[in-house]
Amino acid sequence: MKNKTIRQAFITSIPVLAGYIFLGIGFGILLRKAGYGVLWAASMSIVIYGGSMQYVGVGLIASGASVINTLITTVMVNGRHLFYSISVMNKYKDAGKYKPYMIFALTDETYSILSDGKVPDGVEPDRYRFYVSLFNHSYWIAGGIIGNIIGNFLPFSSAGVEFSMTALFVASFTEQWLTNKNHFPAVTGLLSTIICLLVFGTEFFLIPALLLMTLVLTVFRKRGVEKI
């Protein structure tokens, strides 16, 4: 039971492996160019653990940003996580000792894997979620360290590997579409995002999109609860 849970968690985390390693490498390289070595790369990946945030963070560090500026930027870049936490509260409620780490480690990718609340047959649900979170985090840390040490000298062309993150979201979206009979939430999410992308541009449209979809799902709550 114990080993099966860890094994299943590892299998689930494999799609994230390549993406996190290579995105992590990108971050490690960027931080090296800004003049910071491997301990900085590892520390940031351990304590921040957010892809886009750490890329932005390199710029903040390089320019010696103020604490207030850093705080505002972080809220803008990572504000979306508030919605992730809200939507897993019920699924994580019995996680006990695993819970604090699982909340800390809820990235976009981990969220897209765990947010439907389903787990493979025969695993301990909370241990499983904990290990998926932990494996993903370790790939991210490893990527940052590798990138910071070896830089641009990869033995093969990795061009296009970043698509694995897109593929992960597309697969999760498709799977939830197949599972849920009611497609109102999924369509609301797509349309809200497209509208906000067109209105607000590519830089800061995620928070408006999240607010809009939450508003629509709240106003049309009856449509939302039909045959989920």
Partner: protein, 103 residues
């Protein structure tokens, strides 16, 4: 020292964002939040799909064809096999081959 402050600020702010809902609704989760927990995941993942595809320029270069083919591969395999590992790895390999060899 500034660097340490910047990293600490990024870390703590992110931590507060991630933990805030759990502290606000510590005692009992309101029914409305439970409802959001049911409907938000498909909506948010839809958002993340759009986010990943937002930088495709349909007017120049390859008109986004490699991305569209690879997305179609992922969807088709997921519908057929229902195994995320197979869909994601196949879609990624297809994309890498397309941009490195074909286009």
């Amino acid at each position: 020292m500034t660097t340490v402050y910047i990293i600490a600020t990024m870390s703590l702010t992110t931590l507060v964002i991630r933990f805030l809902p759990f502290f606000v609704f510590k005692k009992k989760t309101p029914e409305y939040i439970t409802y959001l927990g049911d409907v938000l995941p498909p909506a948010i993942i839809g958002m993340l799909v759009i986010y990943c595809l937002k930088d495709i320029d349909f007017s120049v270069k390859y008109f986004g064809i490699p991305e569209l083919i690879a997305v179609a591969v992922v969807i088709a395999l997921q519908v057929w096999k229902r195994n995320p590992l197979i869909s994601i790895l196949s879609g990624t390999v297809a994309y890498m081959l397309l941009i490195q060899l074909v286009f």
